[in-house]
């Protein structure tokens, strides 16, 4: 499942938040990002359809980088880089 969009990005942590409803996946991602170092990328798996709006909106507001948003059918995989 690694992905052309992620070229050059090492994912430090992959969080499986599938089966968790809003706001679970976003909050788990924030927890992971808080613990990550600047430059690190964190991935989160979410089966909550709301994440597809919420996570990009959050990344946009905070000013990090959404490296990938992969539609894997039953769930999405978001890769976010902590840029600052």
């Amino acid at each position: 499942m690694t992905d052309t969009a992620n070229q050059g990005t090492t994912v430090k942590q992959e969080i499986d938040a599938r089966g968790s409803a809003c706001p679970g996946p976003l909050m788990e991602l924030i927890r992971g990002i808080k613990a990550a170092g600047v430059g690190d990328a964190v991935a989160v798996l979410s089966s909550d359809p709301g994440s597809n709006k919420d996570i990009p909106d959050w990344v946009d507001k905070i000013g990090y980088e959404l490296v990938a948003n992969e539609d894997l059918g039953a769930y999405h995989r978001f890769v976010v880089r902590k840029t600052k």
Partner: protein, 139 residues
């Protein structure tokens, strides 16, 4: 957009508490500081263990018929209990929870009777003073 969101939590029904905790999470995610002022029936729901006790979980009477369906849907969707969602938000952001001192007196509640997510008690004037530069919601 102001960077402080203050919420008066007056209702003690699970639907409103769940919505409140979810909105607190969203506010924390977007970098806001959140202060809750928990009063009346809201404070009853913050008594130790109330959120886990089915007998103390209320729904508004007019939506009572939906209760079994909601419970089922929430289980299937993996919706966390509202107190857990609130705790996560508090862990990850700047959330301060005050109980209303007047309500505490009214119901004879001591700090030790309340969930430890409550940081302290405050009077209404103190809360209003803190809300000067905040958006305020009533729940």
């Amino acid at each position: 957009m102001k960077d402080k969101l203050n919420i008066i939590v007056m209702n003690g029904t699970v639907d409103k508490l769940l919505a409140m905790a979810t909105i607190v999470s969203g506010a924390v995610a977007m970098g806001k500081d959140v202060t809750l002022f928990v009063t009346f029936w809201g404070l009853m729901a913050f008594r130790k263990g109330a959120w886990q006790d089915p007998a103390q979980q209320k729904l508004p009477a007019e939506y009572q018929e939906y209760a079994p369906m909601m419970q089922q849907a929430m289980q299937t969707m993996g919706v966390n209990p509202w107190m857990q969602t609130l705790r996560t938000a508090k862990e990850l952001g700047n959330v301060t929870v005050y109980s209303c001192s007047m309500t505490q007196d009214l119901f004879g509640l001591k700090m030790g009777d309340l969930e430890d997510v409550v940081d302290g008690e405050k009077g209404v004037a103190g809360f209003i003073a803190e809300s000067q530069d905040a958006e305020v919601l009533v729940f």
